[in-house]
């Protein structure tokens, strides 16, 4: 069908005779709409003419991106820090929604940020793709002051690609009064934990809450660590092709079968409401819930690490941090690096304010933890000590998203469907080996 025929058909369909003139009018309208749309496409970036084209320090504009923090006042705080920087104009963008995905995609375009935060530092694909720049020289002699496991997580091939902002952690929280009533002391091994959960499960109160999927999404890492293993070995080989890993992951299924796990809570593990509403006696959750826990339970809660499988294993708490990165596509990489150094290395007062004044986080600089008044007493102090003593970075840098999906699927089948752990681990190994080969090539 030729264009003319199509035009005629459309004309007939519209029930009107389109003359050439009215077609032009339509085209004009379309052009105007396009221009309007262009006005609306706020990319958060200044037009190139006013951007870093001058190259002079005072005329530089830097775009800095954050994900949306839930705590009130955080946005105003980071805007205050940005305004205090004299060597460049820093524009803060506060990004709600799927921050990780949209930021990763924007790094491929010209509309991306100059400075941005990313969970546990940039991904291996960003580093391999040259999308982020090496920040090793910014750290200098402050290196020993940063939480070592976090800094290591943001380092690849001896180069550090992000500066840790604040440390977050997950840990096991329990209701003291419920444990006392059942005559239980905080469990030291996984088997003791299962026994305790059994005793604490009474009526509508369950013993333990590991997330609505029975811990399939959350507890894979801590279970491997409790057996003394890890996702990857020190020399970057698959780390849990081991019968002990099968035993450890099988323990989650044992808890599931014993019906001691809380399932289907209205709000998942990252919210304290299951504990405060008395649906569970113990819950694996995050440090960020402490202000709410305090409000709901007063002093009736205690904290502990995820216990070791047995004498050979290790107790652990997962720690993670948003790291500040610099995009390689920034118009002025040096100015961006300078700003990152200023804010996240030199301005310790701002770092302390950001970590403690709004929600409960741990400063990423060890020397600041002592000054964090929110972390000096009670359960928060215990938690901060756990993070320093037995903190374990959530997942290694070479554990790619694809590995993570394969592992999550395997965990679901083991925990929810009772699949054979050894067989599922072998399936994950196939995927992980291929991924390791890809990223290390």
């Amino acid at each position: 069908m030729s264009d003319k025929q199509i035009g005629r058909e459309i004309g007939q369909a519209l029930g009107a005779h389109l003359t050439r003139r009215s077609l032009f009018a339509l085209g004009g309208a379309a052009a105007v709409t396009g221009a309007l749309a262009a006005c609306g496409s706020n990319t958060g970036r200044e037009p190139a003419a006013t951007g870093g084209a001058t190259g002079g320090a005072s005329g530089t504009t830097l775009n800095q991106w954050y994900h949306q923090y839930g705590e009130a006042g955080t946005q105003q705080a980071v805007e205050k820090y940005a305004a205090a920087y004299k060597d460049a104009t820093v524009k803060v963008s506060w990004k709600p929604g799927d921050y990780d995905q949209s930021t990763a995609a924007s790094l491929l375009t010209d509309a991306g940020p100059d400075v941005f935060e990313y969970g546990n530092g940039p991904t291996i694909d960003m580093i391999k793709g040259g999308q982020v720049v090496d920040l090793t020289d910014l750290i200098g002699d402050t290196k020993s002051d940063f939480n070592p496991s976090i800094l290591e997580r943001m380092t690849y091939d001896g180069k550090t690609y992000a500066i840790p902002q604040v440390v977050d952690m997950q840990l096991l929280v329990y209701r003291k009064s419920m444990l006392d009533k059942a005559g239980i002391t905080p469990p030291q091994t996984i088997d003791e934990l299962i026994d305790a959960a059994k005793k604490l499960t009474q009526g509508n109160v369950k013993g333990l809450f590991l997330g609505n999927d029975g811990g399939a999404g959350l507890m894979g890492g801590p279970m491997l660590w409790s057996a003394g293993l890890d996702y990857l070995t020190k020399d970057n080989q698959f780390g849990f092709d081991d019968p002990r890993a099968a035993t450890a992951l099988g323990k989650l299924r044992e808890m599931w079968d014993a019906k001691v796990l809380l399932l289907g809570a209205p709000k998942d593990w990252f919210d304290p409401s299951a504990l405060t509403a008395g649906l569970t006696a113990m819950q694996f959750t995050g440090l960020w819930t402490f202000p709410d826990l305090k409000k709901g339970l007063g002093d009736d809660f205690g904290v502990m690490a995820w216990p070791a499988l047995d004498g050979q294993g290790k107790a652990s708490v997962p720690v993670g941090a948003y790291g500040s990165c610099v995009s390689a596509k920034s118009k002025d990489v040096e100015a961006a690096k300078k700003f990152v150094k200023w804010l996240w290395i030199d301005q310790t007062a701002y770092q302390l304010d950001f970590a403690t004044a709004y929600g409960f986080h741990i400063p990423s600089r060890t020397s600041l933890i002592g000054q964090a008044s929110t972390l000096t007493s009670g359960q928060a102090a215990d938690a901060a000590k756990l993070a320093t003593d037995v903190g374990h970075a959530q997942s290694p840098i070479l554990w790619t998203p694809k590995c993570n999906t394969a592992f999550g699927d395997a965990m679901n089948r083991i925990v929810k469907e009772g699949a054979d752990p050894a067989g599922e681990i072998a399936k994950v190994k196939t995927v992980a080996d291929a991924e390791l080969k890809r990223v290390l090539a």
Partner: protein, 241 residues
């Protein structure tokens, strides 16, 4: 892409879903339309009540279903009802076996879409000329016979459109699956229709655009083939319907 068991699995999931949801919605909405058409009192009230859920967002409905009706604790609506009969609470969305999550997904979708198709059927029913029914009554036909030989054939054009729309909707399954079943950053390896699978492959942290677009092409082909076959079978667009 076709050698990926997870992708093949997602195709099976969604064919099974379509095979179930399309006829079920069809029958329920036709039944509701017949009942409402027969009602003489408060017809517009019932019409509005059944149609109202259509105005609700899939995301909102999914969250209501997940967090209040089918939450796993005793105070969830479904478990409270079970409690009256002395039954134990069921963690509806956490169990993989038996697959209670299908009950949650299917009821949410039925609640959302039955009203809309009921309105379409209702419009079709009201267009049928009363003289046909009068003639049938004179010939002594009633009940099921009238429905089988007059209402259903007269509704053919409407039925065809409804079936096509239902199928398209089933192919687009994403919102309620994603919002009901995804947990913090993960999605279980079952009940994963192709759009959810492709979301995690291409748009999620995977960012594997190559496999994502390959999957999208396969999906488009399947939808095109099904649409053509369905058009053939139902003789879509024939004159005289």
């Amino acid at each position: 892409m076709l050698s990926d068991p997870a992708f093949r699995n997602s195709l099976v999931t969604f064919l099974a879903f379509a095979v179930f949801i399309v006829p079920t919605t069809f029958v329920i909405s036709l039944g509701a339309a017949l009942l409402v058409a027969r009602t003489r009192v408060m017809q517009s009230f019932f019409r509005s009540v059944f149609f109202l859920p259509t105005a609700c967002s899939y995301v909102v409905a999914a969250l209501v279903w997940k967090m209040s009706i089918f939450s796993g604790i005793r105070s969830g609506l479904a478990n409270a009802v079970l409690g009256w009969f002395g039954a134990d609470s069921i963690p509806w969305l956490s169990l993989a076996d038996p697959p209670w999550y299908w009950l949650v997904i299917v009821t949410a979708r039925l609640w959302l879409q039955v009203g809309f198709y009921m309105i379409l059927f209702l419009a079709g029913i009201q267009r049928i000329s009363p003289t046909l029914y009068e003639a049938a009554a004179i010939d002594g036909a009633e009940g099921w016979k009238v429905f089988r030989h007059i209402t259903l054939p007269q509704l053919r054009a409407t039925s065809t459109a409804v079936l096509l729309l239902l199928l398209i909707n089933a192919f687009q399954a994403f919102d309620e699956f994603y919002n009901i079943l995804s947990t913090f950053g993960t999605y279980p390896p079952y009940a994963r229709p192709p759009l959810v699978y492709l979301y995690y492959t291409a748009l999620g942290s995977g960012q594997d655009f190559g496999h994502g677009s390959a999957g999208a092409v396969i999906l488009t082909l399947i939808i095109a083939i099904v649409a053509v076959v369905q058009g053939r079978i139902l003789r879509l667009g024939d004159r005289g319907d």
